[in-house]
Every structure is written in C-alpha cells, then in structure tokens.
C-alpha cells in the first residue's frame, strides 16, 4: 500500500469535463457499476488515473440527470446486488463529441508542447 504522499504525488488532477468523458468512455463497451468504472479507468490508464469516489458518484448522478446514462439494479458475477450504469443513445452521441473535442485539444496541446521543446533546443 503506497503511503499517502506518493498516492497524492502520482495523482493526476482531472478537469471536470474530462472526468465525465472518462466515465462515458468506461461505459462504452458494457454497463458497469461505480466500483467497476473506477477499476476500468485505473487499469485502462496504466494505473495512473484514480477516480476519487467523492467525484465519481456525484458525476454519475449528474450524468444520469442529464440523460446520458441510465441505471438498473443487477447481480454481479459474485451474486451481489449492484447498480449498473449504461450509456443511452444521447450518452453515445455525447461521448463521440467529447472524443472529438479531446482529440482536437490534445493534438493542439501536444503540437504546441513539442514545438516549444524544439524551439528551446
């Protein structure tokens, strides 16, 4: 178990909109429960992105209110009741547009960052 310090040092602060996008992306393949979303993002990001529960649940409930995800109670493979979230068609469209926006943004940022390093060199 990492000490509090390293945990905080390794944490990457997520922009508010980015968290929504990550959640939508995590739900892209199949419906998941909250814990599953955490795990998916954690493992899918090469164990870099840890979503705090204090941010995850408010975000999930907000997305549900916006109509991008819907929820239902189901049993897990371990026979435990859990609330599963799934993407709605509106959520899929939202994911697509977020992905586009992210692609443009990240290309712009990385382009800018690399040009700066060249200039420096």
């Amino acid at each position: 178990m990492p000490s509090t310090d390293t945990r905080y040092r390794n944490r990457i602060e997520l922009l508010q909109g980015t968290l929504d996008m990550l959640i939508l992306r995590a739900l892209g393949e199949e419906p998941r429960h909250g814990y599953g979303i955490c795990q998916t993002i954690w493992s899918g990001s090469g164990e870099v992105l840890r979503v705090e529960t204090g941010s995850l649940y408010p975000a999930l409930h907000r997305l549900e209110r916006n109509g991008w995800v819907s929820s239902e109670w189901k049993l897990t493979e371990n026979n435990q009741r859990a609330k599963y979230y799934r993407l709605t068609p509106a959520g899929r469209r939202q994911l697509a547009s977020e992905r586009n926006r992210w692609n443009v943004l990240s290309a712009a940022i990385s382009g800018f960052m690399s040009s700066e390093s060249e200039a420096m060199a």
Binding site: M1, H33, G34, Y35, G36, Q39, E52, T53, G54, Y57, P58, A59, H61, R62, R65, T76, N78, Q80, R81, A82, K83
Partner: protein
C-alpha cells in the same frame, strides 16, 4: 398526497444511494481479499480508500437537482441530525429559548387582552375615534348634536355613528324580575360604521333613529339571543321589556361582535332616540338634543384613501366652526380623530405603562437567552471548524454552509418557540381563569389566538437570525488551510476572547437592568399588597340596588332604600349599615365640578373636576373610613337644610393650602350653591391601590339623592352568614326588587383588587427569575468555555512553575474584572431605564437604593461562582497533558 409521494421517492433515492455505496465497499473488500489481504483489514482499507461516506453521500445528493424546498428539507434533516448529536448543547439552547420566547408570548397575550387586540369589527384600522380635547379639562366624549353636525359636514368618512353605554333592566315578561344588563344606545349607521351585518333581521333605519322616543326597537347580541332567547329562529318580532317599556326585536348581531369593546360584552342595542324614554332626565332636554352633554362615543369609518391625519384635520376645522356657532357650550372644545389604539393609549396610560413594562422585561429575557445561544454557537463553531473546512474543500459553497448553519439556528428557535408557546399557554389559561368579582361580564380575555401565535413565530425566527447569523458567518469565514492543519490560531485567539469578554460583560449588564427593573416592580406591587386601602375589608357585606328598575320614582327609590336600611340594621349580627353610591376600586362615573372658595385657579380654569361619593350619615363608621377632623353627616343634614360636604385630606391640602379646611365653603358646580366643609376624612385609595393621593369629596345622600346605591352592612361575624336574612328583608319590602353585585368585601378586595396585582407580581417575579437563571447558565457556560480555551496557556504557566493558587487567582481576577465592568455598565443603564419606567407607571415610587446594592452584589457573586468551578478544574490541569491536548 403529493407530499407523501415526494417523501416516498426521496426515501427510495436515499436507500438506493446507501446500497450503491455499500456494494462499492463490499466489492472493493472482496477484491482485496482475493488479492490475499486479511478480511478484516480489507474492510478497513476499502473504507479508508473510499473516504468519508457521509460526505460522499451529501455531495452526491447535491447532484439530484433538488428544488429550494427539497434543499430546505435536506438542510432541516441535516440540522436535526447534528443537533441530536450534541444533546447538551441543544438542551441548553432550547431551554434558554423556551424561557425567552415563552415569557414574550405570555406577556404579549396579556398585552393583547389589556390593550392591543383590535376591535372585533370589520377592518378596525379604518375606524377613527372622534373625541373632544377640551382645552381646560382634557379629553371628553362628544355631544349628540355636535355629532350630527360633524357627520353632516365631514367628507373624510364613509359613515359615522355615535353610541353610549347604558345599564338597562331587561325582562322577557311583564312580571319577571328584570336583569341589569349593559347595553348600547346607538345612532343610525352604527352597524354600517362597524362593518357588521345582523345575522337575522336588520339594523336600525334612519326613521327609527331621528324622532325622539318613537321607536322601541332593539337589536340583540348573539350571546343574548343564544342564552336568553334560546337561539330562537323566530326571535325577530319578539317583545322584550326594557326599563318597563315593550321593545320589539328587529335584529340579531353576529357572533363575536361584542360592541366596540374587547372587555365588555353588551347585551343589546337600542336607538339613541329612546334614551330619554328609558331614563327621563331631570331637566327636560332630551340627551340627543343637549349640546352641553358630551356623552357619546363617536366613531367614523374612513373613506378609502383618506388618512387618519387628514380626517383629524377636517374634524378639527369643523370643530372650530362649531365653537364659533355655539360659544356657550362649545368653548374650548377642540375635536380630534384618533386611531382606536392611540385612543386606548390616551385613555389608560397606566395600562399602557404596565404593558410596556411587561414587554420590556420579557424582551430583556429574550435578549439574554439569545446571547446565551449565540455564545454556545460560537463555542460550537470553533469545534466544528474542521468539519466546515472539509465540507467547503469538497465544494460546498459558503452560501450553502451559511444556509445550513442558519437552518440549524432556525430549527433551534422553532423548537424553543413551540415549547415556549406551550409554557405560555399554561400561563395564559391561568390568567384567563381569573374572574373579577362583579356582575359586569368582563374578564382578562387572554387567549392563544392567531395574533399571539404569529407573534411567537416571528419572535422565534427573528431570534434565530439574531443569535445565529454572526456565529454562522464566523464559522464559514475562516481560511481553510490553517483549519485543516489543525491546532489553534494563537493570534486570532486574542481577538476572539475579546468578543467573548464583551458578551460576558453585556450579559451581566443586561441581567442587572432586568433585575433592577423587576425588583422595582416587585417592590411596588408588594407595597400595593400591604397598603391600607382606607376602607374596611373585613366583615362587610355589600349589595347594590336600583329601585327605578322596578319602576319606582326617584322619591320612592330613596324611601325604599331608607326603609330597607332601617330594617337591616335591626337584624341580629348586624353592627351597622350604610348607603353609598360608590364602591371602592370600581369606577362610579360620579364626577362633580366644584369651586373651592378662595382657591387661586390657574389662568383659564374656573372649576375643579373630581370624583365624589354620595353617602348617608352611617357611612364613615360602617365602611371604616376615618374622619380626621369635624363630623360625619347627620340626620339633620336634610334636603331643606344648608348644603354640607366632607372632603378628604388631600383635597384640604391642595385647595385650602395652609389653612384649616373645616368651616370653609365650596361651590357645587360652576354657579351652584355654596356648601360648607363639615369634616375632613383620611385620604384612601379610590380606584386603584397604585394611585397617588387623590382629592375626593363626599356628598350627603339626603341632599344629593341617587337611585342606584350600594348598601354596606358591617357584621359582627362572618358576613356571608347573613346573606339569606338580607335577601329576606329586601323581599319583604318588595318581592320583585332586583339585587345585584352581592359580595362580601374581603372576597371583593382579594379577588378584584389584590388578585390582578398578584398576577402581575407573579409574572414580573417569574420573568426576573427566568432572566437570572438564563444569565447564570450563560455566564457559567461562557466563563467555563473561556477557561477551557486557555488550557494550553495554563499548562505552560504551570510548567514554568506557577502554583495552583496563582492560576486560580488569575482566572478569578479576570472574572471579577468582567463582572465589575458589566455591573457598572448595568447600573449606568438601569438609572435611565428606571426613570422611563416610573414615568410610565405612577405607582412605581422611588428606586430603592438597596436594590442597587443587592443586585450588583448578587450578580458579581454569581459570576465569581461561575468562574470558580472551571478555575478549580484548570488549576488541577496536568501540564504535560494540557500541552499535548491541542
């Protein structure tokens, strides 16, 4: 239904959230176990990783997009939970507020009953009372011709009417013994002006109220209709005998309309034109044509958009015109229109004074209670600083936090308010149960009505804002970082403790003012209880007669009373008997105007108006009124002999200063005959035991005969034993003679005079005690808290070698300084407060210097005691532990 559905959805949502989080934790734990962790450790670790469950729930809930109402419900729930978590704090705060709000609710209810409750009429605010402000003799009512002239010319009013009170003898059948009832003689337009509609029949028409003596019609009160006419649906057209004259019932007034008074309940209304047939006047002019007789209460309903000031200005102008047109009767009569409340304040300044006093005292209690709660909240805010910091770190806005804390205060105040109203309702019921010993249907109608409840709710909410706002603001304001880092902010502590010291000082000062005021009131009422009323109160029976009710003429009445008295004197067990017009402590409306010979009047004044009694020769002996000089009236003071009067000592002192009053003369009436002063009686109490010495006159019954008289009977033993004999004597003379107000003097005095004083005494005493308890609790809490804040400092002091005694002295000295400053401020404040009080309340007398010694000593003692316990605790601190504590 809608609310229940909403509650159900809310419940389900909460449960789902709970389960969602539980399942998250369970899955995290299972994962850890699967990775080989110890099951128990895994549970803890999952929980640790998850973070603060309550907080996560709360921020998630915020996403549900609640409306304002839901957010409020959440806040209330949250507040309720957090108050339940600290029962000590909640209990102390609520108890303080119960006392504060309870005292105010009870006092307000009394004030309502005595003074403030609006008249039971339609839109009472729009009704003006028109009266005469006589430039020399003060306020008086309006004469009927003046009223008619005003009404004909005034344009500010949509309707105007006059009415006057009469005691009338009412019977259903010719042979029945009539009952004496309070009734109103009214002009036309009376019901229109009051804005009430008879529930059956009609009001009076113009024709019925213009020609004198023609129309014997009456509108009866709802109460009379229910109790005396058996709620008969065919009541209209029934005949009632009023002073022997058959009257036809033409209408029934609505329930709750008690006729322009909150205290009295009038039985029926008859046209003012009937006044002279009901009671013929000696000098012939009918009362409704007599401009010199200002006997009518005139009210006008303002036209929409007309202000009271405009109406008053118009009435004043019209009055000036009347003064020019009728100089003989209207000289110095200025007219004025007042709101009903202003009119009441003017009519009974001593009641207004008492009301102001009660309200001020209870307000002080409330302020002390609020100060208590505020200081508790401040202390609590400190210990919750970290909680606030976390909540705001995860994104709760300052506004939200402030809202939540204020909701908490509001919840406290409403709890306190609800219980306070409960407390007050006990007091109110107790007060309403007091019955004054008189046949007049009146009582202190305290009740817990809508206005009183509204007052308590408003008081609660305002106190919540008052005690809650600053602590809440302070709680959400601090910078987050140092608070999260834990530990005290030594720098700010100095500033903070200043605030606390100020609070302690202010509380001592306020409490001192409250106690001085209560002590002065208590002293005044105590004096009132032991005061000598100047009349015999033991073994004295009284019963009242008015033979004209049995259709006796004035001469027959006097003869009947004389015979009755002789007969009763012969009864065994009777020591003496006497006739008296007035009964002490009851207004007898027997004002006379006199001109004491040789008295230098102030410019413009020519007569003295004062209360007089009409008594027979045995009065002074029977009633135990001491004659200081001269003689009582005698059998030789007859109608045909020279007029004589007896004055009281105050009269002698005031109008014959420096000279012997005996043998001097005074004129009865401005131009009346001279009467010689034959005796000087001791000054007693006439209307209230609180009154200042008042000049008073006695006239002999034979020279100023009256038909309504009270027979006083002094007995050798328990007076109630002879009541049966008294009634036998009355009925042996006339079987149908009505008798009323039969009381023994001791009961009358205790219930009618002392009991109301005792009520006020108890209320003031209780309020003072409540204030003292509150201030003590508050002081103790504050001082104890201040000391606990200094634990660290004390630890250091002791670590560097300060002995226990020194620490004790240090803290006690601080307490003493605070108490001293507070006491001095309090004394400085209570002097002006007292002078305001004694201006409002004549019976208060002078401030007892002992009060100013005892009360400050008491308070200082309490403050020191409040310091001592925490100081003792502090001096036992183990230095090492104290230093580690924070």
């Amino acid at each position: 239904m809608k609310l229940r559905g909403w509650l159900w959805r809310w419940r389900r949502r909460e449960e789902e959230l709970d389960e969602e989080i539980r399942s998250h934790l369970e899955m995290a734990k299972q994962d850890r176990i699967a990775r080989g962790e110890d099951p128990r450790e895994a549970g803890y670790a999952a929980r640790r990783e998850f973070g603060n469950v309550d907080l996560v729930k709360e921020v998630t809930r915020d996403m549900w997009g609640w409306g304002a109402a839901e957010r409020l419900a959440l806040d209330v729930r949250f507040a309720g939970r957090s108050l339940r978590k600290s029962p000590g704090f909640t209990g102390t705060a609520v108890l303080s507020l119960v006392l504060g709000i309870g005292a105010n609710t009870a006092s307000f209810s009394v004030s309502e009953a005595l003074l403030l409750r609006p008249l039971p009429i339609h839109e009472p605010d729009a009704v003006a009372k028109i009266s005469v402000n006589h430039r020399r003799s003060g306020y008086e009512e309006v004469s009927y011709p003046d009223f008619l002239d005003l009404r004909a010319r005034a344009e500010s009013f949509s309707s105007m009417s006059a009415h006057a009170t009469r005691r009338l003898a009412v019977a259903r059948e010719t042979d029945a013994i009539p009952r004496m009832l309070f009734c109103k003689i009214v002009s036309d337009g009376f019901f229109e002006t009051m804005g009430v509609q008879p529930i059956m029949g009609r009001g009076f028409s113009r024709e019925e109220t213009t020609v004198p003596g023609r129309e014997p019609v009456t509108v009866v009160s709802h109460e009379f209709w229910k109790n005396d006419l058996g709620a008969n649906q065919d009541a209209i057209g029934m005949t009632l005998r009023v002073n022997g004259i058959p009257f036809t019932v033409v209408g029934v007034a609505p329930e709750g309309f008690t006729g322009i008074s909150n205290l009295m309940r009038y039985a029926m209304y008859v046209p003012a034109t009937m006044a002279d047939r009901l009671a013929p006047r000696r000098h012939g002019t009918p009362v409704i044509q007599d401009r010199s007789e200002p006997g009518f209460d005139v009210r006008g309903r303002l036209k929409p958009g007309v202000s009271m000031a405009e109406a008053s200005a118009e009435v004043e102008t019209l009055g000036a015109a009347l003064e020019l047109a009728y100089p003989e009767t209207n000289r110095d009569r200025a007219f004025i229109a007042l709101s009903d409340l202003r009119n009441r304040l003017k009519d009974s300044p001593e009641v207004a004074g008492m009301v102001a006093m009660l309200m001020t005292l209870s307000f002080l209690v409330l302020v002390i209670a609020c100060a208590n709660v505020a200081s508790l909240l401040l202390a609590r805010a400190r210990s919750r600083m970290r909680e606030m910091a976390i909540r705001s770190a995860i994104g709760a806005g300052r506004g939200r936090l402030f809202q939540q804390l204020l909701t908490e205060s509001l919840l406290l105040a409403l709890c306190g308010g609800a219980l306070g109203v409960g407390l007050a309702s006990v007091v109110i019921r107790h007060l309403a149960a007091i019955r004054l010993p008189t046949d007049t249907p009146m009582s202190l109608a305290t009740q817990l009505d809508g206005r009183v409840l509204l007052f308590s709710v408003v008081t609660s909410v305002l106190s919540a804002v008052f005690f809650g706002a600053i602590p809440a603001w302070k709680a959400v304001k601090p910078d987050l970082t140092p608070a999260l880092k834990a530990g005290d902010m030594e720098m700010k502590d100095r500033v903070r403790s200043w605030g606390r010291h100020l609070l302690v000082g202010a509380q001592v000062a306020l409490c001192l003012v409250l106690l001085v005021a209560s002590a002065a009131m208590l002293d005044a009422f105590r004096r009132m209880l032991v005061i000598d009323p100047g009349i015999r109160t033991e073994r004295l029976m009284m019963m009242e007669f008015d033979p004209t009710l049995a259709r006796y003429s004035a001469e027959q009445s006097a003869e009947f009373l004389r015979q009755l008295k002789e007969r009763i004197r012969q009864l065994p067990g009777v020591e003496s008997a006497a006739l008296s017009r007035a009964v002490p402590f009851r207004p007898n409306f027997n004002a006379v105007e006199v001109v004491p010979e040789g008295f230098d009047f102030a410019p413009g004044q020519t007569t003295v108006k004062l209360e007089a009694n009409v008594v027979d020769p045995d009065y002074f002996e029977t009633a135990g009124v001491a004659l200081l000089r001269g003689r009582a009236f005698s059998r030789s003071d007859r109608g045909s002999s020279a007029p004589v009067v007896i004055v009281n000592e105050e009269f002698a002192k005031r109008y014959y200063p420096g000279r012997e009053a005996l043998g001097r003369r005074l004129r009865l009436g401005a131009q009346g005959p001279f009467a010689e002063v034959v005796g000087v009686a001791r000054t007693g109490k006439y209307l209230s035991t609180m009154e200042l010495p008042t000049p008073y006159l006695y006239l002999p019954f034979e020279q100023a005969p009256q038909t309504r008289m009270t027979l006083l009977v002094a007995t050798a033993s328990e007076p109630r034993l002879i009541v049966g004999d008294l009634f036998d004597s009355v009925h042996s003379l006339d079987e149908n003679m009505p008798v009323f107000n039969v009381y023994d003097m001791r009961t009358y005095y205790q219930q009618g005079v002392l009991a109301p004083a005792m009520v006020v005494l108890q209320m003031v005493g209780t309020i003072g005690l409540a204030g003292l308890v509150l201030a003590t609790v508050g002081l103790y809490g504050l001082v104890a808290y201040t000391v606990s804040r200094r634990t660290r400092e004390i630890g250091i002091r002791m670590a560097v070698g300060a002995g226990r005694g020194r620490v004790l002295r240090l803290i006690l000295r601080q307490g003493l300084i605070l108490a001293g400053c507070g006491t001095l401020t309090g004394v400085a404040l209570s002097l002006p407060v007292f002078s305001i009080m004694s201006a409002a309340f004549a019976g208060l007398g002078r401030l007892n210097p002992m009060t100013l010694v005892v009360v400050p000593l008491l308070l200082t003692g309490i403050t020191l005691a409040a310091c001592y316990v925490p100081a003792l605790k502090a001096s036992r601190i183990d230095p090492t532990r104290a230093l580690r504590a924070e």
